[in-house]
Structure formats: C-alpha cells, structure tokens
Symmetry: C2
Subunit: 150 residues, 2 copies
C-alpha cells in the first residue's frame, strides 16, 4: 500500500493542472513554450552544422531530427481556446482568429520535420541540407505571422 | 538564395545558445525544465485515469506513455557540469557530486517509462496500472534525493 500512496501523491503533483475539466491557459502556455524549447534545443545543433560551425555528423543530425519530428505534432494541443492570455506569451491573438490557417501552417511544420527525420535516416548530406531549409521555412512561415516580435 | 538566407537567419535564432563550445548553464536549465514540463503534461492524464477522475482510455494512456518514454532519455543531457546554477533551478547541487548515482536513478526512470509504453501497447489495464506505479516510483526516487522542496 505504501507504494500506491506514494504514487498517488506524486500523481497529484503532476496532475494539478488537470484537476478541472478544461486545461488552464497558463498550463497550456507553459506546455507549448516547453515543447518549442525542446525543439529549439534540438534544432540548434542542426543549424550549427548547416553553418559549418560544427563538423558535419549525419548520425547526430538524424538523432536530433528524429526528436523534432516526434515533438512537432505535440505543439497544437498547447493552443487551446482561451490560451491567448494567462501568462507571458509570444503567441499572437490572431492564432485563435485564424485557427484553420494556423493549423495548416502547423501541419506543414509537422510534415516537413517528418520528412527531415526520414531523409536524415538515409544520410545523404545534400538532401538533408535541402530538407533542413524546407523545415526552417515552415517554422518561419508560422513565426512571421503568428509570433510576436521579441 | 532568398530561402537560404531566411533559413540561416532562423537558424541563428535557434542556435544562439550553441554559439560557444560549451552549452550555457541557463540554456541547459531551461532545456531540462522544458523536458520535465512536457513529461508532466503527459503524465497528468495518466494520473487522472489512475485516480478515476477521468474515464479509463487505454489508447489515450498509450499515447501519453509513448511520449514520456521518448522524452525520458533526453533529460540527462540537461544536466551538464556547471549547470547547478545560472538560472532558477530545483536541481540540488548533490546531483553533480553524485553523478553516478543520479545516472542510475535516471536510467531507472528511462527503463520504467519504456516498460510503461510497451505494456500500454498491450492494453491490459491491470498491467498498465502496476507499471504506472513503478514509473511514478522511479520519478519519486530521484525527486526525493535530488530535487529541492518547492
């Protein structure tokens, strides 16, 4: 029984944000910013290789690309209705006014990052570099329209 | 050429933290907290099901468990030497004094979360619940020793 009690105590800590039916805006904001941070952490080494600041390493590139592809589909749930405010956020209110368009852009990022991970498995440097640019373009298309200037 | 230039500008944004040879402590702290946040976001719905606060949904359980298993092995790189300070952190300095033990505990979390994702694919409720407790226990074992009290 002790293990069960400990587990549930821990579970309570984790699930505080989910105690109500709807996710709290600040929890969604914190979540989506965290996913972007982890994507950024993994995007960084690819960018460094692209710029020749670190040596080309196809296996390392593939490892990071795989993580980005896994995380990309997890972003959208971080933008529930009402999470345009509640904590500091770079997300423009336009997102929720044009959710269909935002989803199209998000889907494109999901698709391009999946292609990047798939191409990277093949190890062809030229193809990986080309697909990196497509992926970065998908990031930028969304940021330009829906992210506040820093 | 325009696409290339845009891509590299974006890459520069993402890779600022990687401009120097070593990762900056604040970047590592931000990264690891983000990974924990995303894990917590996915742990929450499992905890709610465990407590019967939301209906049991084996497919949903499996989806979140899979994400946790994918993220767990990404935590350790967020604890490089020197990242015991540099930003607000709940990580105790003991981590870097007992890194071998910390790694054992982290490895156990990786293992238990992988087992949870694997068991969840089978859809057996009793086994999933039992393995959830094992996974939560692995979280707690590390938190008790290496995380500051909130």
């Amino acid at each position: 029984m002790r293990v069960v009690k400990l587990s549930l105590a821990l579970a309570a800590t984790f699930s505080a944000a989910f105690a109500t039916a709807a996710v709290k805006p600040e929890a969604a904001i914190n979540y989506r910013q965290s996913v972007y941070n982890v994507i950024g952490w993994n995007f960084g080494p690819l960018a460094q290789m692209m710029k020749g600041k670190t040596p080309w390493d196809a296996a390392e590139f593939a490892r990071h690309a795989d993580r980005i592809a896994f995380l990309a589909p997890q972003l959208l749930e971080g933008f529930p209705e009402g999470s345009d405010k509640g904590a500091e956020t770079e997300a423009k209110p336009e997102i929720w006014k044009h959710m269909d368009d935002f989803k199209v852009k998000m889907d494109d990022f999901v698709k391009q990052s999946r292609l990047l991970a798939d191409v990277a498995k093949g190890g062809d440097e030229a193809k990986m570099k080309e697909q990196f640019k497509q992926t970065a373009g998908a990031c930028k298309a969304c940021h330009d329209k829906y992210r506040k200037e820093e």
